[in-house]
Structure formats: C-alpha cells, structure tokens
C-alpha cells in the first residue's frame, strides 16, 4: 500500500513485523477511517530459513527430517507430502497397512492442531479459561502422539515407501481409551464454543469470506470449507487409505444449515473436523489389514534405488491448515535437482484482505488467527541486497533477464 492513499479522513497504522499480538512475524499496513479498516496490505518474508536450499546437499531420507522442521505443528504433513512426491517420482508403492497407519498419524495431528487453534482463538478474544480447557484436551492428544511415535512434536514417523513404527495389538486399547475421552469431552467443547455468548458476540459476522472470494483467492483447507467451498484433498484425490474410508466434505451447514463464512463458521468447521478425525482413526483401526509397514526395509538399498531416479514427482496432502503441495525433480544424483514446497498458509493470506476490510482494529487478531496462519512455513523467497529487502515486479524481473542476456553476449 502506498502512503499516498492517506487522505485527511483516514490514517495509516503499521502492525508488525514483530508485534505482541502476532505469534509470528508478518507485516500489516492498515488504512483506517476511525475504527474501520478501509485498506489492508500484507507483507511476508521475515522468517526465510532457506530450507529448500539446504535440501540441495542432502539425500531424500535426510530431507524427510528437514521437511519435518518446516513447521512445528505440521511436523507430519510436510514429510508426508515430500514422501508422496518422491514415491511418485520413483514409482514406489507403500504396503496397504502402512497406508492406514499413515492416515492414523495424519488425523491425530489434525486433532492436535485444531485443538491448539481453538485455544489460541479463545485467547485472542480474551477468553483464557477456554484456552486452558482446550489445551488440557490437547495435552492428551500429545501424550497419545508420544506413545505412538516416541516424541511429542517432531514425530519422525514417516518413511519413503511406508512408515517407521507399527501400531501393535497391545497399543489399540490405549488409543481407544483416548479416543473415547476425546469424544466425551467433544460435547463440552462444542457447548463452550458454539453456545457461549462471548464467543458468539465476537465471532458471528466478523471476518466474512464469501464463497466467490474463497474460490477466486484459492483459499484452502478449513478456511475455504467454512465458506462453503467443497475442497478437500482427502476426498478429491484418494491418496493414503482415504479411498477406502467413509469420508465426505465437511462444511458448516452440516450443523447449522447455513454458510456465512465468518469466524464463527470457521470455529464450527474445525470442531466438526476434529470429530471427523476421531471417526477416521476409529475406522482405520477397524479396517487395518495386517502386513508389512515399509516397501523396502533395507535403507541402504532404498538409498541406492532413489539415487538412480530421474524425473519429477508431486505430493499433495491435506494438512490441518489445508492443501500442502511438494514438487520434486530428481536428476540421477543423490540430492534432488529441485524441491519446491507450498504450504497452505500461502493461499490463506490473500483471503485476509476481504476478511479484514470493514472490520474494526480490535477484530484484527481474531480474524487473522481464524485462518490458522503459520508464517514460517510460508516463506520461501527473500531477495536481500546491500542489507535492504527488495521486491521484484514483473517489469524489473524482465529487465534483469535482458541485462543478463546482454552480459552473456559480451
């Protein structure tokens, strides 16, 4: 946003990149008329960590753990999408049991992430009691994750062509006990979030994203589904074992009969998805066949197989925040030729602009938080020259390209 839009009646407020209300660095520029937001601009690129560059000297097995560190909450989604991409390129197929185990891990992560979000959303509107209530439930989900994978956050569970840890018969009672706990507490959480006056006052009619805008701006995940767009990678492409499971699109009208696309709908959406995830884990436990959990148990053999791969692969996975997309190109070397990551928050940033327009300053935290943004996942490109940050427009890029041609011609 240019400074010149400031007229006598409006004023300009920058928020960020480091600000107490923001969990991660992002830079907002607001144009305000009194309390009302009339114009918004968002600037990214403050947490660029060169993850893709670091992959250039690592082999695919090492990149699995690098991908895990793209995001602290989606520490299963990124290796999963990367694994799918490399399996696509190398033509490896995971055994059937592994596919079911992958679904269980993915859905457990969704439960953790959505509960975390629910707590943060309650905190943003100043309802800290609910933050402690939801995070108490999340603690159980994390304990279950720790029991199944060995660690609470960086799970290290995904392997190319399968999964690293099996769920044995003696582990199932513990899983079922925890799932029952989630189901019992779900009614309480639903009551707190959907019937409480405070939550309703702050979330109903706030930050509306219309169906058209959600489609036009390519929003993904719960953000777009809360606006009524039926978009879910789990249903659209039946990867993992989702094809065998009973799963359908969830939109807020399942519960309320209407879609408003406001913050309240996004709360309903995520709560319903937690319920869907519990249901999916139960289905997986019932239907899971016995068999191997990895296609190639000998890792040295797998490495030499991956070294020979030439070609491209795409991995798409429905992360808690939406569709995560990994592209990989192998050229017969140990390290990939290129690896491109598109995290779901990247798509959910532009929808902030129609959501925030016309809202008040006090609504900024809850509206921004309602898309569950994850900034460090998103940052891929940063151009720094002489210590200043530059953005390149199409014309400037073209100019640079022409200059390079001239340089080469000399």
């Amino acid at each position: 946003m240019k400074q010149k839009t400031t007229s006598k009646t409006t004023y300009h407020i920058p928020v960020g990149p480091i600000h107490p209300a923001l969990k991660e660095p992002v830079f907002f520029e607001f144009e305000l008329d009194g309390e009302k937001i009339v114009d918004v601009d968002v600037k990214l690129g403050h947490v660029h960590r060169a993850v893709e560059w670091a992959s250039r000297k690592r082999n695919p097995i090492q990149i699995l753990y690098l991908a895990e560190r793209i995001c602290g909450i989606c520490s299963y989604c990124h290796p999963a999408a990367f694994g799918l991409a490399i399996e696509d390129a190398a033509g490896i197929e995971a055994p059937e049991r592994a596919e079911y185990l992958r679904v269980i891990q993915g859905e457990l992560e969704r439960i953790c992430s959505h509960l975390l979000w629910a707590g943060v959303a309650a905190h943003e509107i100043g309802f800290d009691t609910v933050l402690y209530l939801t995070w108490q439930v999340r603690e159980k989900a994390l304990d279950l994750t720790e029991y199944l994978t060995g660690n609470r956050v960086t799970k290290g569970i995904f392997m190319i062509g399968g999964i690293r840890r099996d769920i044995t018969k003696d582990m199932i009672p513990r899983i079922q006990k925890d799932l029952k706990y989630f189901k019992d507490i779900f009614g309480k959480l639903k009551k707190v979030f959907l019937d409480d006056k405070t939550v309703k006052l702050r979330s109903q009619g706030a930050g509306i994203l219309t169906y058209d805008n959600a489609l036009k701006l390519c929003a993904v995940g719960p953000t777009t589904r809360a606006s009524g767009v039926k978009k879910d990678v789990r249903v659209d492409t039946s990867y993992f074992a989702y094809g065998d499971l009973d799963i359908d699109y969830i939109t807020p009208d399942v519960l309320t009969g209407e879609v408003n696309g406001d913050v309240y709908d996004r709360i309903i959406q995520r709560l319903l998805e937690v319920k869907q995830s519990i249901d999916l884990i139960e289905q997986c436990i019932d239907k899971m066949p016995s068999g191997d959990i990895v296609a190639e148990p000998k890792l040295a053999k797998l490495l030499s197989q991956l070294k020979k791969v030439e070609g491209e692969g795409i991995g798409v996975h429905e992360a808690p925040r939406g569709e995560v997309y990994h592209y990989i190109k192998m050229d017969g070397n140990e390290a990939p030729f290129t690896w491109k990551v598109r995290a779901p928050t990247y798509n959910n940033i532009l929808p902030w602009i129609p959501m925030l327009l016309g809202e008040q300053i006090a609504d900024i935290p809850i509206v921004a938080a309602s898309t569950d943004p994850c900034m460090s996942c998103t940052n891929r490109v940063g151009i720094v020259k002489d210590g200043n940050k530059y953005e390149l427009s199409k014309e400037e890029l073209h100019k640079l390209s022409v200059e390079k041609t001239r340089r080469l011609m000399k």
Partner: protein, 133 residues
C-alpha cells in the same frame, strides 16, 4: 446454564496440581550444590515424568560391534556423526543430533540404540557428556 463452570472449579480445588516438581519442590538456590548433595545422599531428587516406551533419547553406541561402514553418516540429516578413519569407528556430536534415530534403523550391526536419557542441557556443545564415541 449460568454457573456451569462451578463443578469444575470445586473439583479443581481438591485435585493435586498436575505439575511434576522436578528436580525439587522449591527451586534450589545453587543447582550444582544441590546436585552434589543428591550425589552424597543429603538431598532427595524428585524424579522426572517417565518417558514413554520407544522414546528417542541420547544415543548409545556399542563400539565393539561397529564395523565402520559409515552408513549412519550417509543418512544423518544434520551431520552430527563424524568418521574416525584410522580406527574405523564413529563419533557422534549430540549437540547437533536431532534424535530422529535414522542411524539406528540403517545400522547393519545394530550397534546404535536410543536410550531414555533426555537431560542433556549443557553450556558447552563439545562437553564430554555430549560426545558419544
């Protein structure tokens, strides 16, 4: 319901706090002295919360079994393992380790295992406790 949180409040009043007061009920004024006291039996340590089965803690290395194939170096995502060329053994810097246990999986002789030891904080990344060899 207007006072629906009251039952929770009353239940909470009679519950023990969830926090495990590790290593002592009150923070010791001098941690080193406290640990020395624990060593001589003067003070008592409140044990930490138990780790789950399959927890990935400090790596244990069985030097005798190692054949120096260096496969673990190949899969280590953070370059925490160094080869000792002459002896045909390895050296692991735990300060760089990300505890993924990938080296355990690839080891053909099973000489690497994960223990449940997790108290690895140290001021010096090259201290003796953080180097496994």
């Amino acid at each position: 319901m207007k006072f629906s949180m009251l039952p929770s409040v009353f239940a909470q009043m009679f519950k023990k706090p969830w926090t495990n007061k590790f290593p002592a009920k009150y923070a010791p004024a001098n941690t080193t002295k406290f640990l020395a006291d624990v060593g001589t039996g003067k003070a008592k340590l409140i044990p930490p919360v138990e780790t789950p089965p399959g927890f990935r803690g400090k790596i244990k290395y069985d030097k005798e079994k190692c054949i120096g194939c260096n496969l673990c170096i190949k899969v280590c995502p953070c370059g925490a393992i160094e080869a000792k060329e002459k002896e045909k053994k390895i050296k692991i810097y735990l300060a760089r380790c990300c505890f993924c246990s990938q080296c355990n999986d690839i080891c053909p002789k099973d000489c690497l295992t994960m223990s449940d030891e997790f108290l690895l904080a140290d001021a010096d990344p090259y201290s003796k406790d953080l180097i496994v060899e």
